[in-house]
């Protein structure tokens, strides 16, 4: 089915009585809709009051006026379906909680927890970590509200992808406002959902204003304009999917439209857009004077209050008396009053728990860490033997030399010698064979095999359902990975260059890294973002940066940067198995670098550094390709200058294994850090800070053991240049490392 637009406002909404006769709804359902609408309304009015009294602090995007949309849409979906909400999300959370409440007590507790969350109390849905803008209840499929306009649309696409992949028959509903439909996230997500054919219903709540700017036009002089079209649903034509326009003030109309859309999405794996025309009673927030709309317009919309619209239907059709309606309103009000008291009576979160639930706690047994140290040392020895063999073996071609050297290593050490790209492919393939929830998505990961061939052969083995080529939509690629991860998959999303992560930074940080914490520890986001960085191929400033300092600045993320095939394989397998979001950054100049890896299965614990060379005079701390430069420099310093250098490879830069660094500096007294990223607020300065503060078991600090000022070698503070001599001059290289250390000692 392609694009079609059904403006359902043009036809009369069926009578509730007729729908009851057809078995589409029950009388109890209709009365419960009214109760839910009332509850949301009383909740919002109470929140407004409490904001004024400064009892609730913070954001205040109230849903009053739009209740029929959340109530109707949530009533229309099945149990087990998933929703994504907006920054104006109290209605969605309210309706979802009611849907899952099994009895009156559970329903009351639901409102209690909502109110407590807005007050920032420990008893809230997110233990006060999220509040109004991040309220969520992940266990019933409410993927939460967001503070970023359009920010949750990609995650909903990912959730729909997960349901399709798991074949649950469930769909995702993405709620978003008119304001978000001019963001990149919206377009990327709608396009991705339509192309990947995932069961998604996109519910656009068009309340006519994105904060103060009218979506299309306004009679108010001076008012701006966000779009040239009146109906957002028309944008469905760009995605080739069916769309509807519905009266958002009429809960019955919304219910019927979303029910039809959900059935279509469920049956056909095709996205449907539903635009609900609605209106918010309050301003965007408390400080909004609402000068951009007229009193007449407000009055007109208020005459179509969803409470009035539904109450009138019930009265006219004889389904309820005024007295019954008054009882419903009173019940709703009582529930909100109780919820308010519950919130007031609840305890604040304990500040000692400030850092709780930033990460899923992951630890490795001591014997695993120790055994890995031995394995790493063996891999280093075998790799050295391989390199020596290549240098000494005589053969006609280099390829022949390499094959002979590989055979020698296999003979002597029982290890295979492979390139880093093959290590990455092998890690993914092994984990995908083991765990069907692992999928790969991103640009060119399928038939092409990845821009750096790091997914070659995986499409052939695992098929297009698990190795998913996408459009060039970095925000949607990462955002969908987040949604899929929350819904139980272990996605690996590939971004061709780490430079492009800038486009997806919102999704990576605000959803990927923060969701667990903001949602009170109730979500986990086990995804891996694979990408590559660094200079070395003369492709200049948009394809050569090292952005790991940006990423380590994000609480909730792990950042891994391997330097050898052995590390690349073991760390990637650990990253895929980790329940935390991991950014795994390869180096573009090292995909062909050869090294020994064990033939048996292994993983490398995240957060554990590796001493790649021992020495007593100077400690180099580095990671990624610079480890190779550092080892070469260490060899030259030992051979020619009698300086004995220890090289510590961090491998995981967040969490950072400062103990291994500190133990090394305690021995040598001198620290040199080497990174390919910029120096300002970069990895080197951070390592120095952590070292200086490190407290040893004797009570002394890293500071006490320094015998010389620490040195941070890093990229020059210039956009990476294209020209090769300039490019080489912009980063630490073996000769500059040697020179700097000779100065120091």
């Amino acid at each position: 089915m392609a694009y079609s637009l059904d403006d359902r406002r043009k036809k009369p909404t069926p009578k509730i009585g007729d729908l009851i006769k057809k078995g589409v709804v029950t009388e109890a359902m209709a009365l419960d809709w009214l109760r839910t609408i009332h509850e949301i309304r009383f909740f919002e009015d109470k929140v407004y009051d409490l904001l004024g009294q400064n009892i609730i602090k913070g954001a205040s995007h109230l849903y009053a006026g739009q209740e029929a949309v959340a109530t109707g849409a949530v009533a229309a979906i099945e149990m087990g379906d998933v929703i994504g909400s907006t920054h104006r999300g109290h209605g969605h959370c309210g309706a979802m909680g009611n849907k899952y409440a099994t009895d009156a007590e559970a329903r009351q507790m639901h409102w209690n927890r909502m109110m407590a969350e807005l007050m920032g109390k420990e008893t809230g849905y997110c233990s006060g970590r999220g509040g109004s803008m991040h309220i969520a209840d992940v266990k019933i499929g409410n993927l939460g509200s967001t503070g970023i306009v359009g920010g949750n649309i990609p995650a909903a696409v990912g959730a729909a992808l997960a349901e399709k992949h798991k074949k649950t028959g469930k769909i995702a509903v993405s709620f978003f406002g008119d304001g978000s439909t001019n963001t990149g996230s919206f377009h990327e997500s709608m396009n991705m959902a339509s192309v990947l054919k995932v069961p998604l219903v996109a519910v656009i709540e068009n309340n006519l204003y994105g904060m103060s700017v009218p979506f299309c036009a306004s009679p108010v002089e001076g008012a701006g304009c966000a779009s040239n079209i009146e109906h957002i649903a028309e944008r469905a034509t760009a995605y080739g999917v069916p769309a509807m326009i519905v009266d958002g003030q009429d809960v019955v109309a919304v219910f019927l439209a979303v029910k039809e859309a959900a059935a279509h999405a469920r049956k056909n794996n095709e996205m449907v857009m539903v635009e609900a025309k609605t209106y918010r009673w309050y301003g965007h927030s408390r400080s909004d004077p609402r000068v951009y709309r007229t009193k007449e317009e407000e009055k007109e919309w208020r005459s179509r209050d969803p409470i009035i619209v539904l109450s009138d239907k019930l009265l006219e059709e004889g389904l309820a008396t005024r007295e019954q309606l008054a009882v419903i309103a009173q019940q709703a009000q009582d529930a909100i009053e109780k919820a308010t008291q519950f919130g007031l009576d609840s305890a604040w979160p304990d500040v000692a728990d400030l850092a709780r639930d930033v990460y899923v706690t992951e630890t490795y047994a001591d014997n695993v860490v120790e055994a890995e140290k031995t394995a790493a040392a063996n891999a280093m020895k075998a790799t050295a033997a391989f390199e020596a063999a290549v240098d000494t073996i005589t053969a006609k071609t280099k390829k022949e030399k390499v094959e002979l050297a590989k055979a020698q290593v296999k003979e002597a050490f029982g290890m295979d010698v492979i390139a880093i790209k093959d290590a990455i492919i092998a890690a993914q393939a092994e984990e995908m064979r083991k765990d069907p929830s692992v999928i790969i998505e991103g640009e060119d990961v399928g038939l092409y095999g990845g821009a750096y061939s790091a997914t070659k052969g995986l499409l052939e083995e695992f098929g297009a359902d698990r190795v998913i080529d996408t459009a060039i939509s970095e925000a949607a690629i990462v955002g969908a990975a987040v949604g899929a991860a929350i819904r139980g998959l272990r996605p690996i999303a590939e971004l061709m260059y780490v430079d492009f992560i800038t486009i997806s930074m919102d999704q990576l940080m605000h959803n990927g890294a923060f969701n667990r914490y903001m949602f009170g520890g109730h979500a986990k986001v086990p995804m891996v973002i694979r990408t590559e960085g660094g200079v070395g191929r003369c492709i200049a400033a948009h394809h050569s940066k090292s952005l790991e300092p940006w990423l380590v600045n994000v609480p909730g993320l792990y950042v891994v940067m391997p330097s050898t095939p052995y590390d690349a394989k073991g760390l990637l397998k650990a990253a895929i198995r980790s329940d935390n979001p991991v950014v795994y950054i390869e180096h573009k100049a090292t995909y062909g670098q050869m090294g020994a890896v064990p033939t048996e299965e292994y993983i490398i614990p995240l957060g554990v550094a590796d001493v790649k060379r021992t020495g007593k005079d100077v400690t180099i701390v580095t990671y990624s390709r610079q480890v190779m430069f550092a080892l070469a420099a260490a060899k030259e310093l030992a051979d020619k200058h009698g300086i004995d250098v220890e090289v510590v490879d961090l491998r995981t830069i967040k969490p950072l294994d400062i103990k291994t660094v500190a133990d090394s500096v305690r021995k040598t007294g001198r620290l040199v850090t080497i990174a390919e990223s910029f120096n300002m607020c970069g990895m080197g300065p951070e390592i120095v800070r952590r070292l200086i503060e490190y407290v040893y078991e004797d009570g002394r600090t890293g500071f006490d053991y320094l015998d010389a000022p620490p040195v941070n070698m890093a990229a020059a503070d210039v956009p990476p240049p294209m020209s090769e001599p300039l490019e080489n001059a912009s980063i630490p290289m073996t000769d500059t490392i040697v020179a700097r250390i000779r100065q120091m000692v």
């Binding site: 004024g52 009294q53 602090k57 954001a59 205040s60 408390r286 400080s287 007294g669 006490d704 015998d707």
Partner: protein, 533 residues
């Protein structure tokens, strides 16, 4: 029922609002949602809607007024409801926060005033803040020993509500007023300055907001004026910079790496004896090791390892007071010291005789105190204290008695010793010692006095020089009574001899006064029949 309508917070950053327009007047009926004011905030001019329904009874603000968020601005009520002149019942005390700062001296519970200062919280109507009173002239702070009330208690004026430890004693604090305890702001063990808020009382049924209580805890509520902020005279003068130890090192600073210092400390090497490598800007660990190998730089004995110290003895409150007061004495009281030997043979005989009967046993100290009291009457200058340009004499002879208790040293007073007989002094002294050892001394036992008698004879001390108690003119140090051979009328007699040492504040008394005073004491003790019983 009348209710106040308060200025709501209309936006996250709004702290106050200006009344631009008032759209209602007294007598108007308003419904929930009616626009009643236009308020200018830090961001925009907004319409303020009525949060409830009723008749406008009273306007508490005028157009143009700027008031903080949460200030009552309007009272609404039922149509025929009468509103007291001051506003609604609840509003009576909660005048708009533009109220003038209180300027009258505050009683220790004041009806808390809304503070005008930024960041402070207006006191809710009816809240009465109980502050830590000054329980004695020298008291600057007090430690809460016990709280005898809890939130919700109804307290009568005069009821004991806290036990407070001052610099002198543990005292019972009485409630300065009646009310229901709404909050207790202190915990046992907490030490606070005089006038610090310690509790909030209010009438039954009055609601005191948590904000206000938190603000009191955080000090954001303006303290009562009596909690005088330092005036210009009182403000500490800028102290002259104290030379640091580093500046005293003649050789100047030694530049050495942290590791070199660590190594030097571990090896016991004096860094002053270590020379950096040629051209180097600092000593490194290698330089230290070289110096150690040469054997030249080892410190003479090596400093004792700092972690080899003995146990730590905590200092109790009493000892802290002793430390403070003795330091003050040494800093402020220029003393001279007199010594005299006294023949106690006659007192010895008299005491033996008197103690044969019933009643309190008399100690030598009781005779000494009696003698001191009589001597003070003869030499009133010895009761004096320098006060500006004059010397103030005491109107009653109170004599301090140094007592060693389990907790430490105290010196409570034998009141009006001048008009007491030896036996009365003994009886009083016995009770006083009992009170001291059971920690029952009152402030009255401790404040004032002309002189203190300190007797270490029981410990075998021959003579010692005591330190004058601040506020008193002198102190008498009494040594042991020992048999000594004395030439009397050409014969060598064995007599009971005792040393008396008098430390005297030279600001008050000169040597001649004090010498005669001490000699008079001696003479009284050598002729005890003059003051028998």
């Amino acid at each position: 029922m009348a209710r106040e309508i308060k200025l709501p917070q209309m936006g996250q950053t709004m702290e106050e609002g200006t009344i631009v327009t008032c759209l209602v007047k007294v007598g108007d009926k308003v419904k929930k949602g009616d626009v009643i004011f236009e308020i200018e905030t830090d961001k925009a001019t907004l319409e303020m809607e009525s949060p409830g329904e009723g008749f406008v009874k009273k306007m508490l603000v005028a157009v143009g007024d700027t008031v903080p968020v949460n200030t009552p601005i309007l009272i609404i009520g039922d149509e025929n409801e009468a509103i007291a002149d001051g506003g609604s019942p609840a509003a009576a005390a909660a005048a708009p926060a533009v109220a003038k700062a209180a300027s009258t001296p505050a009683p220790s519970t004041e009806a808390a005033k809304p503070a005008a200062a930024a960041g402070s919280v207006a006191a809710p109507a009816g809240a009465r803040v109980v502050r830590l009173p000054q329980l004695g002239q020298t008291m600057e702070e007090g430690t809460i020993v016990t709280s005898l009330i809890k939130v919700g208690d109804t307290v009568a004026k005069g009821q004991v509500i806290f036990e407070v430890e001052t610099d002198k004693a543990t005292l019972e604090m009485e409630s300065p007023g009646a009310g229901v305890v709404k909050a207790i702001l202190v915990e046992a063990g907490e030490t606070l300055p005089v006038n610090a808020p310690i509790a909030v009382f209010a009438d039954e049924g009055t609601d005191i907001g948590q904000d206000f209580i938190d603000a009191l805890r955080g000090g954001a509520v303006a303290a009562a004026p009596a909690a005088a902020t330092p005036t210009a005279e009182q403000a500490p003068k800028a102290s002259t910079p104290v030379p640091t130890a580093a500046a005293a090192v003649k050789d100047g600073r030694i530049f050495a790496s942290p590791r070199a210092k660590t190594t030097a400390a571990d090896m016991g090497i004096d860094l002053r004896q270590v020379h950096p490598a040629a051209g180097a800007v600092r000593i490194t660990a290698a330089d230290v090791q070289r110096a150690a190998a040469s054997g030249a730089a080892r410190e003479p004995a090596g400093p004792a390892p700092r972690y080899n110290l003995g146990d730590i003895v905590p200092v109790n409150r009493l000892q802290k007071i002793v430390a403070e007061r003795m330091l003050k004495s040494k800093q402020e009281i220029p003393c001279f010291y007199l010594n005299i030997r006294t023949d106690m043979t006659e007192v010895f005989k008299l005491r033996t005789k008197l103690n044969k009967g019933d009643g309190v046993k008399l100690s030598f100290n009781d005779f000494i105190i009696r003698a001191v009291a009589i001597a003070l009457k003869h030499y009133p200058i010895m009761t004096g204290q320098l006060d500006g340009n004059v010397i103030q004499l005491a109107d009653q002879i109170d004599i301090g008695l140094a007592i060693s208790t389990d907790d430490g040293l105290v010196a409570p007073l034998i009141k009006d010793a001048g008009s007491k007989t030896v036996r009365q002094i003994a009886e009083y002294g016995k009770a006083l010692i009992e009170r001291a050892r059971t920690n029952k001394l009152t402030l009255d036992d401790l404040e004032g006095g002309c002189i203190t008698v300190s007797n270490l004879g029981g410990f075998g001390i021959d003579a010692f020089i005591p330190i004058v108690v601040p506020g008193q003119c002198s102190i008498l140090g009494v040594g042991r009574i020992a048999d000594m051979c004395m030439p009397i009328d050409g014969n060598i007699m064995v007599r009971k001899i005792m040393n008396l040492n008098l430390s005297v504040d030279h600001k008050v008394a000169n040597g001649a006064d004090a010498a005669q005073f001490l000699d008079y004491i001696k003479k009284l003790l050598e002729n005890p029949s003059t003051f028998e019983e």
